[in-house]
């Protein structure tokens, strides 16, 4: 039953992505940037998904630390969300960091700039990669505790970096909630929202897969531990 539901969800995701791509390709050209603005159809949703999943990872880390002495099984479940959120977040963050310069080179003439959002995004990527490295190098039960603590540190660091860099720079200003000149034309808003939904659905699909994998890994480790106890 679960597998069928998951298959249906996967099919919906793919259908959404195809529909969103269709809308993105056929959206009208923009006044200022011509066709180059189309990056918002995959770059902005990927960034949103990445940041959301990093937040999920931080919540998982906090949950693990709070629950690990009271309810070990539940704590492991939170830890599974922590590592899944981190890993899938890194995948989407990589997409953001690679597609951004590809757009930036055509739009601004430079591949990179050290302003608020770019630096924050790069640092976020570095912090969560170091989180994964910590999990790989550490061993035993301390690994989960240490990496949960590191996850919390990383999560706090991000707003600090963002504030440190908040000088008007190269990256386009906020489109929503910015000044009078911001806001999106309806012909572009509709494809944008569909793309946002499509990438979010896809991200959740990958997150669920990674989470299932982690649970399976935990189960095998627990079975092996029990086996060695009973041997």
């Amino acid at each position: 039953m679960k597998k069928i539901l998951f298959g249906v969800y996967a099919a919906i995701c793919i259908a959404l992505l195809v529909w969103a791509f269709e809308l993105a390709v056929n959206a009208p050209a923009e006044m200022m940037q011509g066709d180059a603005y189309r990056i918002i159809f995959y770059h902005v949703p990927s960034a949103t998904v990445a940041f959301t999943f990093f937040a999920i990872s931080m919540a998982g880390s906090i949950g693990y630390l709070v629950l690990r002495e009271k309810n070990a099984a539940k704590a492991l479940a939170w830890d599974a969300w922590a590592v899944s959120g981190a890993e899938v977040g890194i995948v989407f963050c990589t997409v953001v960091l690679v597609t951004g310069p590809l757009w930036g080179y055509r739009a601004w003439g430079i591949w990179w700039a050290w302003d608020a959002r770019l630096t924050t995004t790069l640092l976020l990527w570095l912090i969560y990669v170091s989180y994964l490295l910590m999990r790989r190098f550490a061993s035993g039960a301390q690994m989960r505790t240490s990496s949960a603590v590191l996850g919390i540190f990383g999560g706090i660091g991000v707003p600090i970096v963002y504030i440190a860099n908040r000088i008007p720079g190269q990256h386009p200003g906020p489109v929503f909630g910015g000044d009078r000149a911001s806001g999106m034309a309806p012909e572009i808003l509709r494809p944008f929202l569909w793309n946002m939904a499509a990438w979010l659905f896809w991200g959740i699909l990958v997150l669920i897969l990674r989470h299932r994998f982690e649970l399976k890994q935990q189960a095998i480790a627990a079975a092996e531990a029990e086996q060695s106890l009973n041997a």
Partner: protein, 92 residues
């Protein structure tokens, strides 16, 4: 059958990446810096459009190369887990 699927799953992201790099490499040359002396805005836009298109194609290809590459890697690890679990339950 399974091996074929696995091989395709591994090759598609690599192919997408190569395609993206090729798209960037094969993009036409940019107009010179002093293009305003030689051509109108419309001519410049016509010259620049295929370059923008090449970059856009590269961006989409790279996006899917990363996404599918990650899924392929996850799939590989998953099948590795299945083997470990199979061995463990055989020992019981």
């Amino acid at each position: 059958m399974k091996k074929a699927v696995a091989q395709i799953a591994a090759l598609v992201p690599i192919a997408l990446l190569v395609f993206a790099l090729y798209s960037l490499y094969a993009a036409p040359a940019e107009p010179p810096r002093d293009w305003r002396l030689h051509m109108t805005q419309e001519q410049h836009d016509l010259m620049v459009a295929p370059i923008d298109h090449a970059f856009r194609v590269a961006a989409y290809s790279v996006t899917w190369a990363i996404q599918l590459g990650y899924l392929a890697w996850l799939g590989l690890k998953w099948s590795g887990l299945k083997r470990v679990a199979g061995r463990a339950s055989n020992q019981n």
